[in-house]
Amino acid sequence: MFDDTDTIVAVSTAPGEAGIGLIRMSGPDAAAICRRVFRTTRGRRLRSLESHRVYYGQVCHPVTGEPVDEVLVTFMGSPRSYTREDVVEVGCHGGVWPMRRVLQLLVSAGARLAGPGEFTRRAFVNGRIDLAQAEAVCEVIRARSEAALKQAMQQLEGALSRRVRELSHDVVGLTAAIAASVDFPEYDVEEISRRDVRRGLEQVLGEVRELLRRAGEGRVVREGVRTVIAGKPNVGKSALLNAIVGRERAIVTPVAGTTRDVIEEAVVVRGVSLVVADTAGIRHTEDAVEQQGVERAQRAIAEADLLLAVFDDSRPLDQDDTAVADLALGRVAVAVVNKVDLRVNAWDESRVRTLLGTVPLVRVSAATGEGLDQLFATIHGLFIQGELASTGPPLVAGVRHITCLQTAATALEAALAGVDGGHHLDLVAVDLHDAAQALGEITGESVDENILDRIFKDFCIGK
């Protein structure tokens, strides 16, 4: 991360602060990397970028050509830029998710995610910022890194960290087994077989690829738990969204989704960051337009990490409620019974409880705020106390994590190729070590100490 000769990239506006998100890239390859993913409105690549000119077009996947977002690209050639290096700014219009995709594509195209305060540091090192500001620069780095750390911790509380920790444990175990037989050949350390190494490698690689695949589908890449509010019309979904967002002050402004009828809000609930989407009401309908909205809602639900299934306490249970309960069954969900303040209680709770199985049920009033604390505690419990292990995979990962997972996958592939190529296991261990290091970067564990610990814990060695 301290290489000042490469090209760095980061989102430079806070998520959701504005309808337009800005991604900034700085370094010698900024223009080249941008050209790899940018297409003009006519679908052409640019031969070159002219300094201080704005280009309009799309960011597309470099291989599939699939458009990701409409963008405005500005190139500022060195030294007339913020960092005095070549800088490209990409203005994204499509909201949080397309912006994340753009960032990811720029990373795959050769940029490195910037460390905390790294742009500011480069600006300073290149003489753009004056000496008197040096202390301020340090403060910026500290503050950003603390914010990043806090966010990382939040994300790591969840299932991803557990999975990565397990994978890292496996890789460290393999490395230690090879190291023990290499470093202590004169003791009766049982040598790990090529077949065991191969099996272990394949398993870990399979899981890393699975994590990446889901990340690639956009299921994992985000800074929060993708939460969808669903229910039949008029159960108070929007009111619930407003209540959740309004109660917790850590609001970020609404972000328009790609579809008109899905509205997203980012909010932090008891340390869990959620991106909450309100959907069109779910009901059986013959109307074609409304049916489209319902299908979109169902798609959003299918992709969600957390489903808030909303029911109306003031109306009797009907077929549409049953359909909603079916959606919640078997996934990470909370049943929210709304409008309890009306005290109508027309609703057959025991029947729904049987429909919902183990899904927790909370009674609230979006209008008065009654029961919201209980709802937040339930969500917190789901994500922080780790009840997710059994219910499935809402993993939360940032682009940094994906970069680390990619590095790990590449190293594991190299290790596997080494095993298959008949190379000695101590050479394979070099790639395994790189993989362990990449995974360790996600969990913040020191790999080398872990390997030594495992050697002495797992193997009996001594004079």
Binding site: M1, F2, D3, T5, G115, P116, G117, E118, R121, F124, V125, L131, A134, E135, V137, C138, E139, I141, R142, R144, S145, T175, A179, S181, V182, D183, F184, P185, E186, Y187, D188, G421, G422, H423, H424, L425, D426, L427, A429, V430, H433, S446, D448, E449, I451, L452, I455, F456, C460, I461, G462, K463
Partner: protein, 621 residues
Amino acid sequence: MGYVAGHYDVIVLGTGHAGCEAALASARMGCRTLALTINLDNVGLMPCNPAIGGPGKGHLVREIAALGGEMGRMADRASLQVRLLNTGKGPAVRALRVLCDKARYQALMRRTLERQAGLDLKQAMATRLMLDDGRVAGVVTATGVEFRAPAVILASGVYLEGRVITGEHGYPSGPHGQLSALGLSGELRGLGLRLNRFKTGTPPRVHRRSLDFERLIPQYGDDVPRQFSFEPVEARPQHVCWLTHTNERTHELIRSNLKRSPLYTGAIRGTGPRYCPSIEDKVVRFAGRTSHQVFFEPEGEDTDEMYVLGLSTSLPEDVQLELLRTLPGCGRVEIMRPGYAIEYDCLDPTELGHSLECRKVPGLYSAGQVNGTSGYEEAAAQGLVAGINAALRHRGQPAFILGRSEAYIGVLIDDLVTKGTDEPYRMMTSRAEYRLLLRQDNADLRLTPKGRELGLVDEERMTRVESRRAEIERVAEALVQRKLSVGEAASCPPWTGAGALTAGMSLADLLKRPGVEIQHLGELEPALRRLPAETADEITFRVKYQGYIEKQEAQVARLRRLENRAIPQDMDYCSVTGLSTEGREKLQRVRPASLGQASRIPGVTPADLSILMVKLESRRR
């Protein structure tokens, strides 16, 4: 009281493996050098295992030899059994282990010191350091004699306030009944240096004639023994070692006597090494194992004393004998010396810079087990570096520092001064992240030019290294150029493995195939058969593992950019705003020489490094 017995450029305290290398290097580099030892009869003593080398450790010895040090030469000349370990594994981890005749090793080493011009060898116990305005000025011995020198190398091993414990008995002592070095610990503390208390142990020794060899398994050395040093050594007869195993009776006996073990009664508080557990530790920690290996190794040609590898213990003597007798072939075994544990003071190595000089006390160097390491080889490597640096300092030249990508010696010292150690530190190949570049085969190519530059290697040896380098490059290139003819491709000998041969394929491509060795290629190109083994190994490695080597070289290049960003030694970390509390404290303590070193200090975060970069930049302006 207080008479000055001599003026020197460098004084070395101790003549163990660190002290000997330090004294020889310093004298060979032209410094008037004094080596002081508590007992002149114990120069180069091996108080524990009779072997030198093994993975990581053997690499160190090869590097010492390549730089012009002595340990490898002595071991080759005193060898009892030679084995190349890890022959079934990758070339980077193959390592030589040489069992030595301890007495012969000592005699050879002492003679080498005695014959060295510019080196005085004297018996005396230094008890005080003399300082002049905060800088080292000399030492005072227990009998009040002063020796003056602007540089002192502490190489006192496990002797500082040493205490030996067997069973219920503990008494002040160095290893093997030597005097422990008293007084110096207090001196060091008085200088504001942090000390640790470590522990290590050694197994009992038994009499050869009390073993029943019919029931032991013989272990032979290599048919064609290799050597550590780079000049021809006369071949020596190979001796046999013997293997037996512990059993449930042994383990039961240990378990029932644990309450008498000082490790469990709390009589020993020092931190022991995880990689050298005593037999009682092994039985407790690996309770599931029903058997452990035990080797009997000769301690010398002129003695019947045998070392019992695998049975390090500090249990009471009666238990030691009883448990030995549970082993097959040991029914009538007699102990000559009991095993024991030893506790000693050592310096926190983060007090040192990469030159092994104490930051707080200019002129005071420290090397070997006193820096918290374990093993003869680690000690010798540090001794050599400390000796070289004391001499360079005397000459007014910059310090000699090896990087992590240049040598195991570099890894060893960087680990010590950057991370410190909370147990006796042992070198292992897994500690060297660039180990594919640091092979024992290429130690001479890597380091002999540096040894030559320092004046520790003569011209003749340098010429040999250069011609070896040239030959390797020439042959490697020839393998790329030499293509298979149509006839050769058609003949397709069985050793070429799977896949058809095509005309125009190079011999290098052929060598890359699994199972193909350079000797096979001799069928096509007879000149290859005449290559010396080590040269053939080196060429094979470069061809077969080209991809791995390139990957590691790219990593090294990235590392180098950070290593080149120097941090001034007078950096005031307290005045740097924004550093994390732990980061600041660690930086203050270790005082890293470069951003690269700073990045390896546990507790220093990436944000801390960023802030340091900004600070460095603002100092520069």
